[in-house]
Each structure stands twice: as structure tokens, then as C-alpha cells.
Amino acid sequence: MLAVDVHGLRKDYGEVKAVKGVEFSVEGGETFGFLGPNGAGKTTTIGMLCTLVRPTAGRASVAGYDVVREREHVRRSIGLVFQDPTLDNYLTAEQNLRFHAELYGVPRQVVKRRLRSVLELVGLADKAKAQVRSFSGGMKRRLEIARGLLHAPVVLFLDEPTIGLDPQTRRSIWEYIKSLKASEGTTIFMTTHYMDEAEYCDRIAIIDKGQVVAMGSPDELKASVAMDRVQIQTDSPAQAIEALREHFGLVAAVHEGNVTFSVAEGGEFVPKLFARFGELGIPVRSVGVSRPSLDDVFLSYTGTTIRDAEAGASNEWMRRVAARGMRR
């Protein structure tokens, strides 16, 4: 039985097509990631899988149950941790968990034991009787994860689980999630726009503008982009872009302030680049060559880096400059 199975899932909000026909499946016990910028449709897709949002078209099943026709069964089988906190700040950690246990019908005999074990799992056992109001952001997120696990869900949905947290807390949350996977075999479905987090996944789907543009394991995706990324810092980006096109036949654009392009064997290319640029009189302040990362995968499949996709219009101008140069 597939933990999550999605076919042609769509969501329209009036004129806006948030999700445009998404198709994928997740095996039991997998850690599956949805990678993409904000506004790509990640949260909407998760919303549909969690029965919070009604799909416009398509079908999806979670833990073997249809998300539209068997909503109650889906809800019983999933745990949710969202970006926005959904704890009651005026209750204690234990009271929040008990509330959850009652709503999810956790059998009375096991509640106490489960409560203790999830709190231990996330390292909050000593804070059971403390009011959530006194917790830090990281502690609240950990408590939400504990709560999401309390009823032993088949699939745990994490929407940007470590957003807004400091690196140390992010690391420890991921330790908990990994140990969870090892001990319970829970399927984890997460969305993120952090590249390093996406590396933890068994498989990733890259989503941009409401569609899945690539899917595979992190290594598979990186291998599909068999080129190095080269970034140049220069005072005349438009000139550099033009020169790259004319002399090397390379398509370059400005990403995150640097003239960026992909080329095979980047290390060998750079000396040739300097030689030619030196002749042309184009000053290069610095250069960087990197092996493909998931950011490059994103770049190659969508034409933008995640950060740029989020920055949105600011780079449009640069891109149009580059494009104009190429049309000549």
C-alpha cells in the first residue's frame, strides 16, 4: 500500500491556478520532500492531502484512504506539523497533548505511556507541566512534532518544519525525525525551501508554479545536472553575459547578484574564461566553481534559483537584459 498516491491533483482559487495537475506517489517508510519556493503550491498540495483543502480535480489517497471520500480515516492516520503554531499557549504541554489524544481517540490505557514517550523523544519530558507560553520557538515546534506523533500516524506531514529556527534547533529536530523514522517506520512527507533539509529526503519532488518539474532521489537529481555551476562577480554583468554567449556559446544570467552559468568541467573552463575576458577587457572580481547542488537542480529545471524565485521581480530586469543581448 502506498503511503501517499496522487493523480492529477489540481486546485484553483477562482482564476488563480495554485496546483496544476500534480502526480506522484510515496512508499511507506519513505521520507519524501517537496522542494520549491514559496507560492509554488507546496502548502496547497499538503493542504489537499491533509483534507484541509478540497481539490478542484484529480484524486489522492493517504494511507490507503481517499482524501475526499474517506476524510475521517485520512485524518486518523496522519499527523500534522504546520509552519504556524497551533498550540494553546495557556495550557501546559501535557494538557495540549491530552487534548490531542482525546480528539484522536487514543485508547485511554495507552495515553499516559504515549505521552511520556513522545515527550522524551523530543526532549521535553521535564517540561510537561509547564505552560506553552513559556516555551521558545524551537520548543514549541518540538512539542508540535510530539503532538503530531501522539496518535501513531501512518504519515507525518511537516510543512516547513524548521523554518524560523536557529541552526542548532534545526539540527536537533532533524535528529528526532531521523530517530523516529528508525524506530517507528513512519512515512514522512515534508515541504521545505531549505536545500540542506532536502538532502535528508529519500526522494524529492521539485515543485514550481503549481507543477512537479522533477522527481527523484537527491543524488539522481544532482547527477541529472552533470555540470558545474560557475559564478562570476563583475562590474559589467551585461557585457560578461554577452561575451559568454558570443565566445563560448553559453547561456548566462544573473542569479543572486552574480553572473551564473553551467558548464562541464568548470575547473578547466575558468582559465580559458580569464584569458578571453582579459583580451576583451572585461574585469572579473571573483569567480566560484561549485559541484551541482540541489539549488542547481532547481535552477536547471525551473530557470531560477529558489532564492531568486522568491525575490521575484527584482531579477526580471537583469534577465531581460541578458535575453536582449542574446537576441542580437
Partner: protein
């Protein structure tokens, strides 16, 4: 996993319990909610009391008491219902909406919780009723408490209906304040329902709060043996529909029917949410 009905009952219970915990953790709220009715009862009551002289050792405060008790219940119940808007703003509502329980159970739990919490206010008002000249008669106290509980349930359910449509807590408070004053003024809490001009009499009959205040006043006055029948008839004429004197049972029936209707519609509204 617990079976259907038991599971729903557990859900109702835990939502109810949460209302109780929240109320208990905020004693200031209870104090503030009882302050306004007390102000109304003792300041207005004593102040205006000099203008009104019933004679026969009957105080204006005693007359105003049912309205004051209803007022305390009104505010608390609305605040309880409004807390669901708070929950929506602060995300906790989503935790409830995504759980495998029917929305009806959540609404019922909230209404019962709000009603119970508002009844605590009622108890407070009953405790100080002696100061308003109301006799401490156990049967009377139970009757009044029961009637206030029913009112609390109705108002909480009504509040939930309003809350289902509203996104921000401030808007909720604004809307309910706008409604509460007219409802209160038209309920006969401050004046007898006899000798009113036709238009006012018609409005009082349409006001749901009238059917909650009148039984309490009737119950209180039934225990005031010192009041002569003529005065009692003038001060507590009851509600009449086209000449038919509406008995207490029917008045309470009206309130109960409204409670049921509000709960049902609120549940339907919440089923459609998110």
C-alpha cells in the same frame, strides 16, 4: 481507537474541559465580567432608586436583579464563544478542525463549556443576590441558576454562529457589543413590560432575551410575599402574545428552541469552514 459515539463524547468533554481550564487560569476575566452587572445593579439601582418608590419595602434593586444576572451571563457567554475567533487567529482552531471528530461535537463542546463558565458568573450573582433584596431560598436559587444556564447555552451558541463568520477577535467584540445593548434594553430588564407604548411592547416580544429575563423575575417575585398583588401585576405582567398570557414553561421553551437552532446552524457553519 475508540468507537464512534464514545469518541465523539470524549471530544465534547475535552473541548468543554478546555473552556474550564482557560476560565480558571484567568480569574481576572471572571471578576471583570461580574463588575459591570454589579455596577448596573448597585450604582444604577441605588441611584435611580430614589426616583422610584414602590413602597412595601420593595427595592428597585430587587426589580433590576434578574436583568443584572442575565447581563453577567450574556457577557461571559459571548466572550467564551468569541474565543473561537481567538483560536482561529492563533491557529488552535486548525488543530480542532483537522482532527477526526465531527464539527458538531466541537461546537457542542464549546457551547456546553461556555454555558458552564457563564453559569459560574450566575452563581456569583446568586451569591450576592441578598444584597439586592432577593431572598436566599434554595428552590429559588436552583430555579434561577437553571434559567441562567439555559440562557448561557443560548447566548454561547449564538456567539458561535457569529464567530463562524468572523476572522478577527476585535471585529467579534465590536459586532457583539452592537447587538448586546439593544437586546438588553428591549428585554424588560430595566422596566416592567406593562404600560408600554405599542411599538415598544411589540419590540420586547421579539427580543429573545425577554423570554429569559421574565422567568427569572417571576421566580424572584413569587418569593416576595410582602408585595401586594396589584403591584406585582404591574411590575411583573409577563409576556402576552395577542392577549394570551405566555406561561413560564413556554418562555423557557422559546429560549431552549433558540439554543437548539443556534447550535445546529453553528455546527453547519463550522462544517463548511476550512
Amino acid at each position: 481507537m475508540a468507537s464512534g459515539a464514545v469518541h465523539e463524547a470524549r471530544a465534547v468533554w475535552v473541548v468543554l474541559k478546555r473552556e474550564g481550564i482557560r476560565f480558571a487560569s484567568d480569574p481576572l476575566r471572571a471578576v471583570v465580567s461580574v463588575l459591570q452587572p454589579l455596577l448596573f445593579l448597585f450604582v444604577l439601582g441605588s441611584g435611580l432608586g430614589s426616583l422610584v418608590d414602590f413602597g412595601h419595602h420593595l427595592n428597585l434593586r430587587t426589580f433590576l436583579y434578574p436583568g443584572a444576572a442575565a447581563m453577567s451571563v450574556l457577557f461571559t457567554a459571548l466572550f467564551s464563544a468569541g474565543s473561537i475567533v481567538w483560536d482561529r487567529e492563533f491557529g488552535f482552531l486548525r488543530e480542532m478542525l483537522v482532527a477526526p471528530v465531527s464539527r458538531t461535537s466541537i461546537v457542542v463542546g464549546k457551547c456546553l463549556g461556555g454555558a458552564l463558565v457563564a453559569s459560574v458568573q450566575g452563581v456569583l450573582m446568586i451569591c450576592i443576590s441578598g444584597l439586592a433584596g432577593v431572598p436566599y431560598d434554595p428552590a429559588l436559587m436552583f430555579t434561577v441558576l437553571g434559567e441562567l444556564l439555559l440562557l448561557a447555552l443560548t447566548v454561547t451558541a449564538f456567539g458561535m454562529l457569529v464567530a463562524a463568520k468572523i476572522q478577527q477577535f476585535q471585529s467579534f467584540m465590536a459586532v457583539t457589543q452592537m447587538l448586546v445593548m439593544p437586546l438588553f434594553f428591549l428585554s424588560g430588564a430595566m422596566y416592567p413590560l406593562s404600560g408600554l407604548p405599542a411599538w415598544l411592547r411589540a419590540l420586547t416580544r421579539v427580543d429573545p432575551l425577554t423570554y429569559a429575563v421574565d422567568p427569572v423575575r417571576k421566580a424572584v417575585f413569587a418569593r416576595l410575599s410582602a408585595v401586594p398583588p396589584a403591584l406585582r401585576a404591574r411590575l411583573v405582567p409577563g409576556v402576552t402574545w395577542d392577549g394570551w398570557h405566555v406561561p413560564v414553561g413556554v418562555e423557557l421553551g422559546v429560549v431552549a428552541a433558540m439554543a437548539a437552532a443556534f447550535v445546529v446552524v453553528a455546527a453547519l457553519e463550522f462544517r463548511r469552514t476550512g
